[in-house]
């Protein structure tokens, strides 16, 4: 067969780090959190995989996955509606031996039969808390060249503040790496070291059959975490290659970081870094172009289609279908889909979830360090 595609399949864990953004995931999961005006977090990984020639992607959901199913549909927007491979959403209980998993090992153990029947030589594992334009082909080539058993992508950066509040009881762990000659020699769990660290992006590449063997034996021993229980104890025997990523990343690690990461995209350099070189695909909504009516004023904003702006908007990110009424002022806000800021309302440092209405004349103000969050569907 002509070799058009990358010889790897993707596995995405859409619930990772849900615990960092409890408000945003009350009716969804990390992967379906709206981001950057017209996307959901999962779009970045999925598009990166597709743009890297991967056309077999599984998403192993743990809970709250209805919004994700709705978003992904048949996978057509990502060109993943295929006879072979394509998009495969695995909810809990989809097979007899499947339950709600708590760690990556259990999640992978639940799809061993599936993994066995795939043709790709390599498996790529990834989480969705990071928006990134990632070249998996380049990482795969580096992995093959290194001769390693496993490759981990990392970025040299400070540990995002939100991670330090992580609740270990829910089982979300984060990892920093000690590296020598591109080889990982220690994995630190939930480190709080200040300054630049080798912060794991939780993107892994390894041989499909080797992964299956590891998961089988780890699962039999009751292990839960791939990193803590499989990789960390074996670093002397296994060659774990550290793959450094230098591109733009937006990690969601809390409400404040959600606000900041959206706002950062008002800087063209950041937006271009996140969306170049490859496009990011998302579910299409039939929206009109955005309309700026007479008397409106817009300054330093990013807006999706379908908005109608009659008021005054400044330093804000507007998702699809946002309405800003006459005489309303919107300053330093992130307004998700179909938010309505009615006539004369004044809002500042606000994050509104989907379908929020701020009624006429109301004033609502947060601060830079504590933006106010209004939950989905609320009318204020």
């Amino acid at each position: 067969m002509v070799n058009t595609n990358t010889n790897a399949l993707g596995i995405i864990f859409p619930n990772s780090y849900d615990s960092l953004v409890p408000d945003l995931v009350s009716e969804r999961l990390m992967a379906s959190i709206p981001f950057a005006g017209r996307y959901r977090m999962v779009d970045f990984l999925l598009s990166s995989m597709v743009n890297s020639g991967i056309d077999n992607v599984s998403i192993i959901a743990r809970k709250n996955y209805h919004s994700l199913m709705d978003h992904l549909g048949s996978g057509r927007e990502w060109d993943l509606t295929r006879k072979n491979g394509g998009l495969n959403i695995v909810p809990p209980y989809s097979e007899k031996n499947m339950k709600v998993y708590s760690g990556r090992v259990e999640a992978l153990a639940s799809i061993l039969d599936f993994l066995k029947n795939q043709k790709e030589k390599y498996v790529i594992l990834a989480d969705t808390h990071t928006a990134v334009n990632f070249d998996f082909r380049e990482m795969l080539n580096a992995h093959i060249e290194s001769g390693a058993d496993v490759s981990i992508a990392y970025k040299r950066e400070e540990i995002p503040e939100g991670f330090k509040n992580i609740s270990t009881s829910v089982g979300d762990l984060y990892y920093t790496l000690s590296i020598e000659n591109d080889r990982v020699n220690r994995i630190f769990i939930n480190s709080s070291e200040p300054g630049l660290q080798n912060f794991s992006m939780n993107i892994y590449i390894m041989d499909r059959e080797a992964l299956m063997e590891l998961v089988k034996s780890a699962y039999a021993r009751g292990y839960i975490y791939f990193e803590r229980d499989i990789l960390a104890p074996r670093l002397d025997k296994m060659h774990v290659h550290a793959y450094r990523f230098n591109g733009y990343t937006a990690h969601l690690s809390g409400m404040k970081s959600y606000f900041d990461e959206n706002m950062k995209l008002l800087d063209d350099a950041n937006l271009d870094a996140l969306f170049d070189p490859n496009p990011v695909y998302t579910k299409i909504r039939e929206d009109n172009p955005t309309r700026y009516l007479n008397g409106s004023r817009a300054s330093n904003i990013m807006a999706a289609d379908g908005c109608v702006i009659e008021g005054d908007v400044e330093n804000s990110v507007l998702f699809r279908g946002v309405k800003v009424g006459k005489g309303a002022t919107v300053k330093n806000c992130v307004l998700m889909q179909d938010t309505v800021i009615a006539d004369g309302a004044k809002v500042e440092y606000l994050i509104t979830d989907k379908n929020v209405t701020i009624s006429s004349g109301k004033e609502l103000k947060g601060t830079d360090s504590f933006p106010v969050y209004v939950a989905k569907g609320q009318i204020v």
């Binding site: 955005t290 700026y292 289609d305």
Partner: protein
């Protein structure tokens, strides 16, 4: 299973009065309203009316149109049985023919229509901006027991002689057809949208094809023949927004009317009657801190650093700081560089307007000129393009064209 009604969309028109815009593009593929192409309107009307089978008859510059239509998925017209089909002229055992006229185009596709064994066929035109419920038109056709119905618009009497006119009695039964008459007997202009009983249409197409003197045209041949035979012909009154965007001026006007849906009647923001299109897939648009955007429509991928007033920007347009855009239609991917002035004009796709260049001008009293820049053209720094210019070749730095 037979289909009740299928649509045949005439999209072969060259649109020669759109000059620079249709050099490499069939008229139905001309961009419109920020993120649409003209053909989105009849296609969306079909889907919204419950028609799931559409044949698109193309022959002039079909490349862009073919690619745009693709499998019809954006209009929900990717169907197992039916869906959208692009129908170019093809070679047959008896030889090959271009479509000689509108009726001949349908004649050559009789086998396509027969596959669906429809009771009715609606003939649509691919060069109009119009939101219309064809199911209501069909209801009228059935209620009247018509064999042929035509959608008509009332036009001002003084303009009537520019149109093909239907003379009808008080029951809307058509008694006479006048093609651009000097002395109009009616002000009911044909919109070029017809519903036929398929058996009748087929009979008249075959008869028309056999007539060596026929121009094979609906208006000039088929309709007069139906009248001659005293067929049941009715005029269906349509009173919504309708615009033939066959000229630069009318295309520009229709775009400007989109900016004022409250008065113009063309509301693209109607959730009950969506217009579907193939989307650009670009990121959100951005408006810089010092930019000014007033009374305009902006879509994905745009970056605005300058001033935009009363204009429509298509996907991926860049307006650099210090540039001014007013009363303009700027199509996808075009760049207006710093200090350039763009006014009262249509800029086609992927155009670059150089720094400090000037395109078009606000019209003086009684003037109507809409400057037009064809696709992919480069207008050099400091160049000047007059309000009546039609540019489809690069213009050097500092040059003038009037």
């Amino acid at each position: 299973m037979a289909k009740e009604m299928i649509a045949m969309l005439l999209a072969g028109g060259q649109g020669s009065r759109l000059y620079a815009l249709t050099q490499k593009l069939a008229k139905p593929a001309v961009p419109f309203g920020g993120k649409y192409r003209i053909i989105d309107f009849p296609l969306s009307n079909c889907v919204n009316s419950g028609i799931d089978t559409v044949g698109i008859l193309t022959q002039y510059q079909p490349l862009v149109l073919n690619e745009y239509i693709g499998n019809g998925q954006p209009w929900d017209l990717d169907r197992l049985y039916g869906g959208v089909h692009v129908l170019p002229p093809y070679q047959q055992a008896s030889g090959s023919d271009w479509y000689k006229g509108t009726a001949n185009a349908i004649y050559q596709n009789i086998p396509f229509i027969e596959r669906y064994n429809p009771e009715y066929v609606i003939i649509l035109s691919g060069d109009q901006i119009c939101k219309q419920d064809y199911s209501d038109f069909l209801r009228f056709h059935k209620e009247k027991g018509a064999e042929f119905s035509v959608a008509v618009m009332e036009v001002p009497w003084e303009e009537a002689s520019r149109f093909g006119l239907m003379v009808a009695d008080e029951n809307d039964k058509i008694t006479e057809f006048q093609e651009k008459p000097k002395e109009p007997k009616s002000n009911l202009a044909s919109m070029g949208i017809y519903i036929f009983n398929w058996d009748i249409l087929k009979k008249y197409l075959i008869e028309d094809e056999a007539d060596p003197d026929s121009e094979n045209d609906f208006g000039n041949n088929i309709i007069p023949n139906l009248l001659r035979d005293g067929r049941n012909m009715y005029a269906y009154h349509f009173s919504g927004y309708w615009k033939d965007v066959g000229t630069i001026t009318s295309l520009w006007e229709a775009n400007m009317e989109v900016l004022d849906p409250e008065h113009s009647g063309i509301n693209l923001f109607d959730d009950e009657w969506k217009i579907y299109s193939r989307t650009s897939g670009m990121t959100c648009h951005k408006i810089s801190p010092d930019a000014i955007v007033e009374n305009s429509m902006v879509t994905d991928g745009c970056r605005i650093g300058g001033t935009v007033k009363h204009s429509i920007l298509f996907a991926g347009v860049r307006v650099e700081p210090g540039a001014e855009v007013e009363d303009a239609v700027v199509m996808g991917g075009s760049v207006i560089k710093a200090g350039a002035h763009v006014r009262h004009c249509i800029i086609a796709e992927n155009v670059v307007i150089g720094e400090n260049a000037s395109v078009g001008a606000m019209p003086a009293e009684g003037e109507k000129g809409v400057a037009t820049i064809g696709p992919g053209v480069y207008i050099g720094d400091g160049a000047t393009i007059g309000p009546n210019a039609m540019v489809n070749q690069n213009v050097k730095d500092g040059d003038e064209q009037w």
